[in-house]
């Protein structure tokens, strides 16, 4: 490993002091003069036709500045997916009918929140209830209530706007099937014929929530004289939000500015454009005043989005020695009242699992199904959690039945470094075997497994991309040299807790012979910063990091060239250190950066030294892989994880105590080791919640636990010891070898804990969360 001075070191976070002193600004903290407050009236019915809306009383209420309904926003369409095949199906406010409880039907802007809330009570909506359907398998049956019959595309779809010359056509929906996935490699039937043992199981993953501590929010401020919209909002990448705000509100994209704010947690739950964001922009344009919307916790739980509910059926055929010959996977994704990210979550379930077990014959079939429930969207790992719980639970079952060691069986079925996946992606680095061995060792796997004495150990695996092609298909950065010889870095990343501000400053500092504090950071402002994929595509370190590295190298080259001219030597004779350039053979001959800058301006036509860097997620790819067929290059570098859990199960109460989690991750290279530890500890905690208690309870379409009292997330007292292990494989494609680290370990935690529970009690739970009730039930059935 090359010698580094700033990257690879536990540099303190650049945002920490402002967050520790209360100075850090989040959207919820921003106040503008003449600011109004927006509120949304939401449907109490899961499926109903809107007969009539009377807003006249609300409009007459003092302090109310605007009231809108679906009539005002008619025809505006948006969605996480808006392709020729799957045109966008969402709208700001319901136009003729509502498809889930919590869908917006009217909105108000008023002088304060209390007035807005009172005004909502004055809006009279007459509904005609329609038969509703909540179970995706019921929804697919003939005769089930039809949630959508035909999706009419907007004038253009997003892919068309982004350069694909194909029009979207009206999409007829049959049996509520919103979306399908079909991926296969090899000969599945032949694979099963060659198998000695075949096992089929069915798993269920419920709705769970992101629970960012900062609720979803936006402040939108329209200036009618410049026809320009300024927004501050919780997000994970401004490009997508800005594109959709511009499109839905009919503004040129350069007339929408997203401002830099910190984001109080995201976890995938703030990626997509939401109705409330379009509504806030619309209300601001209507009133000519700033409009702020901060959703209540109830709204966040019941009317933004959740992780995807999924039924996963797995049929696996293996040889007696544990070699997997064939795997057939059927996914039913209960996507809710609108499509959400359904086609993507199924595609990613496949794509993220593909680099784990090298299964020669494989078939994935997925159906996304409309139901009258809230919508599913990405959550940390986007599909990995669902599929790994199923696949690694089943591998554990197969290994035990064949008398094999689960760890040995997992290791036997992996790829090797250098292997090429069916879509052409190359596994340049592959630290998964080492991750597995290290976590197994960390829980003393060999000695502790198989005792069934109330204590058990288990293992689960994860993998994912390090940045993938998506609009605007480029990440770029600018570095300028400042008068005093320090530098300013401009990049489009958004800091939502993951540490991007810090690691990007570290990268710039490393290349420029500076310290992190020498870098002034301008990030996350669509007007000041260049294009970026943004962090929601798991490419913050690898893709944006590489762009920053290239921009800093550009500045370094210019400095060196200029110093060579001034010192009358060759560039190769020079070295860079502590904001100076030295002649290697004669360190007395040197120039400080500020001197070089002055020299450059004087002697080189005013060149004040500005560097640029740019990069694509996958250099060979011009657009995007097929999400329905799984073909096409996807990412240049996969990150890998393994988790081992040790648990103790109280067989009287069914209570599970996680004694230890060991989370290992191959993120290529730790740009900031403390940050890497923090990401892995974070995912251990989130995965523990996923496994043991988190579920958004939905009865007849209604979320019945929409508070943090009723929806429990892990607290200090729930947390076991988490040992984090970083496996640094130094990927040739990432900056300094870095890959993704922030999201794919989460998916390895639920199967690890579930397998440990089986190891402890000899009973298998097929659905998350694994509650004491389910454990007692499983123990009862085991005795029978």
């Amino acid at each position: 490993m090359a010698e580094h001075k700033v990257v690879g070191k536990p540099v303190l976070r650049v945002d920490a002091k402002s967050k520790a002193t209360g100075g850090a600004k989040y959207t919820t903290d921003i106040v503008l003069p003449r600011m109004l407050h927006g509120k949304i009236l939401r449907s109490p019915y899961p499926h109903a036709r809107i007969v009539k809306i009377d807003t006249s009383k609300a409009e007459r209420m003092p302090g109310v500045e605007a009231v809108i309904t679906g009539k005002d926003t008619a025809g505006i369409r948006f969605g996480f997916v808006d392709t020729p095949r799957y045109p966008a199906d969402e709208h700001p406010l319901a136009e003729d009918k509502v498809c889930y409880i919590g869908e917006g039907v009217a909105a108000v802007a008023a002088i304060d929140e209390d007035t807005a809330i009172e005004a909502l009570k004055l809006i009279e909506v007459k509904y005609e209830e329609l038969p509703a359907v909540f179970d995706p398998e019921e929804a697919m049956k003939d005769g089930a209530p039809k949630i959508h019959e035909i999706i009419i595309p907007a004038k253009t779809c997003a892919w068309e706007d982004w350069g694909v010359p194909r029009k979207a056509k009206p999409l007829e929906i049959k049996n509520n099937i919103a979306t399908t996935l079909n991926v296969s490699h090899g000969d599945i039937e032949q694979g099963f014929r060659e198998s000695d043992y075949i096992r089929e199981d069915r798993f269920f993953i419920p709705t769970n929530a992101h629970v960012c501590l900062e609720p979803h929010d936006i402040l939108a401020s329209y200036d009618p004289f410049y026809q320009k919209l300024d927004v501050w909002l919780g997000h994970m990448g401004y490009e997508l939000k800005r594109y959709w705000l511009a499109k839905t509100l009919g503004l040129p994209i350069a007339k929408v500015r997203t401002h830099n704010v910190y984001v109080g947690g995201a976890f995938g739950g703030k990626v997509t454009i939401f109705p409330y964001e379009v509504i806030a922009g619309f209300l601001s344009m209507k009133t000519g005043r700033p409009v702020k919307m901060v959703l209540t916790r109830h709204e966040v739980f019941a009317a933004t989005c959740s992780d995807h509910r999924m039924i996963v059926e797995v049929k696996t055929g293996v040889k007696r020695d544990g070699t997997i010959m064939a795997q057939e996977i059927k996914m039913i994704n209960d996507c809710g009242g609108y499509r959400g990210s359904s086609p993507v979550v199924m595609f990613l379930s496949y794509s993220y699992s593909k680099p784990i077990y090298n299964v020669p014959n494989i078939k994935y079939e997925g159906k996304g199904v409309y139901t009258n429930k809230m919508i599913g969207h990405p959550k940390r790992g986007h599909g990995l959690n669902q599929i790994r719980f199923a696949l690694d639970s089943q591998v554990d079952m197969i290994a035990r039945e064949l008398g094999l060691d689960t760890v040995e069986m997992m290791l036997k079925n992996l790829y090797k470094p250098g292997d090429v996946l069916p879509n052409g992606d190359i596994l340049y680095t592959y630290g998964l075997p080492e991750c597995i061995r290290k976590v197994a060792e960390a829980v003393d796997w060999k000695n502790k497994r198989g005792k069934h004495n109330g204590r058990g150990v288990g293992i689960g695996l994860g993998a994912g991309d390090s940045g993938l092609p998506y609009w605007p298909f480029a990440a770029a950065a600018i570095v300028r040299l400042n008068h005093d010889g320090t530098a300013t870095l401009y990049n489009g990343a958004v800091e939502f807790g993951q540490g991007s501000d810090t690691i990007l400053c570290q990268i710039a500092a490393e290349e420029l012979g500076m310290q992190t504090e020498d870098i002034t950071l301008i990030s996350n402002d669509s007007e000041l910063c260049p294009m970026d994929y943004n962090n929601w595509l798991s490419g913050g370190a690898k893709v944006t990091g590489e762009a920053v590295k290239r921009a800093a190298i550009d500045v370094r080259m210019q400095l060196t060239e200029c110093a060579a001219m001034a010192l009358e030597t060759k560039a190769e004779e020079l070295e860079i250190k502590d904001r100076h350039i030295y002649v290697k053979s004669d360190p007395e001959k040197k120039m400080a950066f500020d001197e070089i800058l002055r020299y450059s301006i004087q002697k080189r036509h005013g060149d004040c030294i500005i560097g640029k860097g740019y990069v694509k997620a996958v250099d060979e790819v011009e657009f995007y892989p097929s999400i329905s067929k799984g073909t096409g290059r996807f990412t240049e570098a996969y990150a890998f994880s393994a988790t081992a859990a040790e648990v103790e199960v109280d067989q009287e109460t069914g209570r599970v105590k996680v004694l230890k989690l060991a989370v290992a991750d191959d993120c290529g290279f730790d740009i900031n080791p403390v940050n890497v530890e923090g990401q892995l500890e974070s995912q251990g905690a989130m995965g523990l919640g996923d496994t043991l208690f988190e579920e958004v309870l939905i009865e007849e379409g209604k979320v019945t636990n929409p508070t943090l009292a009723d929806y429990k997330i892990p607290g200090t007292i729930d947390m076991p010891e988490i040992e984090t292990i970083s496996v640094q494989t130094v990927d040739p494609k990432g900056p300094y070898g870095a890959k993704e680290v922030g999201e794919f370990a989460r998916g390895s935690v639920p199967p690890a804990i579930a397998n440990a529970i089986f190891d402890a009690i000899g009973a298998r739970i097929y659905s998350l969360p694994i509650t004491p009730e389910k454990i007692l039930e499983a123990l009862k059935n085991k005795k029978k």
Partner: protein
């Protein structure tokens, strides 16, 4: 009907006209511009709005501003003095205990109340004292380590 109330926040006195139903968190944030105190759950379940009243951690989203009259209110903005971070703030910064930062102000104040009363807590006591403060980012390990480090540092300095 608004009424005149007097609040003492971070050592400074304020006279304000507020409605009796106004929550302390809203008065701190909206009237005094002390936006370091965060609102995240509205019902006292997450601890993000924790402030200290006469040294005791209180959920400002469940407290009326008028109830806090005549008492010493400490918010996150009052922790650092003369440009120097409080030892807990310093420890949170140094130990990577901050990610998105939304829970940080409440965490710091709960931790301060603990250390003021029990300067050398055990790990179990730290976990217990912070059990009402939710964090979705860190998994708590580094937060607990930071509180331990701040306690250790205070001990060494004595």
């Amino acid at each position: 009907m608004k009424q005149l109330i007097k609040l003492r926040v971070n050592g400074e006195s304020y006279e304000l006209q507020v409605e009796p139903k106004r929550l302390l968190v809203d008065v701190l944030r909206d009237n005094l511009g002390l936006t370091g105190t965060k609102k995240a759950c509205e019902f006292g379940n997450c601890g993000s709005c924790t402030v200290l009243i006469n040294g005791t951690p209180v959920l400002s989203c469940l407290t009326l501003a008028i109830e806090a009259q005549g008492k010493d209110i400490l918010t996150v903005e009052g922790l650092a003095r003369n440009g120097q971070l409080h030892p807990l703030q310093q420890a949170f910064v140094e130990h990577g205990a901050i990610q998105c930062g939304f829970c940080t102000p409440g965490m710091l104040l709960s931790a301060k109340a603990l250390l003021d009363e029990n300067p050398q807590p055990t790990k179990a006591e730290i976990k217990e004292a912070l059990s009402g403060n939710l964090c979705r980012c860190t998994g708590y390990a580094k937060i607990i380590k930071a509180v331990e480090a701040a306690a250790q540092k205070t001990k060494e300095e004595k």
